[in-house]
Amino acid sequence: MWTKIKWAFRIVAAIFVLGFLHYTLPQHDIVRVTGTYNRLTTVGTENAWAYASPDSGTQESSATRDIRFIETAFPDGDVMVYRNEDTGWIWPPYFKYDSSNLQAEAGNLKSDAANPKWVVVTHYGWRLPILSIYPNAVSLREATGPDERIIPWVSGLVIAFLIFAVFMIRRMWAQFWERSVEPVAAEMEETWDGMEARATGLIGRIKAVFSNKRRK
């Protein structure tokens, strides 16, 4: 029973961590820009987490904001809509404040199906129509072709750093436990043994002396 609960908890935690990483880390799409526009968008409580924080420049503290969007199509014909918002200074840490320039670049790279110009869009986030959320485009550049291979080295570095950080935290915790907690615990145990010995008289005291010796 307890192992099942423990495993359920672990799986839920793993899903949260992986989902968080999948949402936050940069990803690349190769698409064709088909349109760019601004639209007054109402951000509700259910999807505010997937939009820029109110103080990062796109709008100031109102439920409806004017957001830039970039419409695109994949080589296979599927479509994707990106929003194009500043990220602000804290989270997610892309430090993007050139949305206007990015919108101009997107407009400049527009092309039609007959004469496609393939573009690599670096973005983070998810497109979930049910919540009306859009991935945020971070940067654009022209691709060498529709099947250019992109190595996601930023995500690789971030994940490597996170693994290193977890490893270091475990080592630091082990060091703290071994050097600071265990000696105190051992001392307390000795004091306890001593008290016990005093309570049980001479024989107990001799026993306590021997048990202390053994521990050292």
């Binding site: 602000g88 060091q175 050097r179």
Partner: protein, 93 residues
Amino acid sequence: MFGLLRAGLLAFAILTAVYLLVSLYSRSVRREKLEKAWDSDPDKITADVADREAYIRAGMETYRHGLRRKLIWLVYIIPMVVVLATVYGVNVQ
């Protein structure tokens, strides 16, 4: 601009906490290494406890002036470089 200030203060607070933890850890590891070096030396088993303490104190003094301790400043420097590189990479075409 206020956002930048807030982010800077937050980062400074977090990095200071990391710096303190890492330096405590590094010092603890060095002390343990010194203790083990002394304890595993067969010549020193009979030596005085005071000698052992003096040896460890001298080792820690060397550590205090060493390179390894100064390298912990990278805790502040690396994130700053990463942030500046990100700002540059994302915003400059």
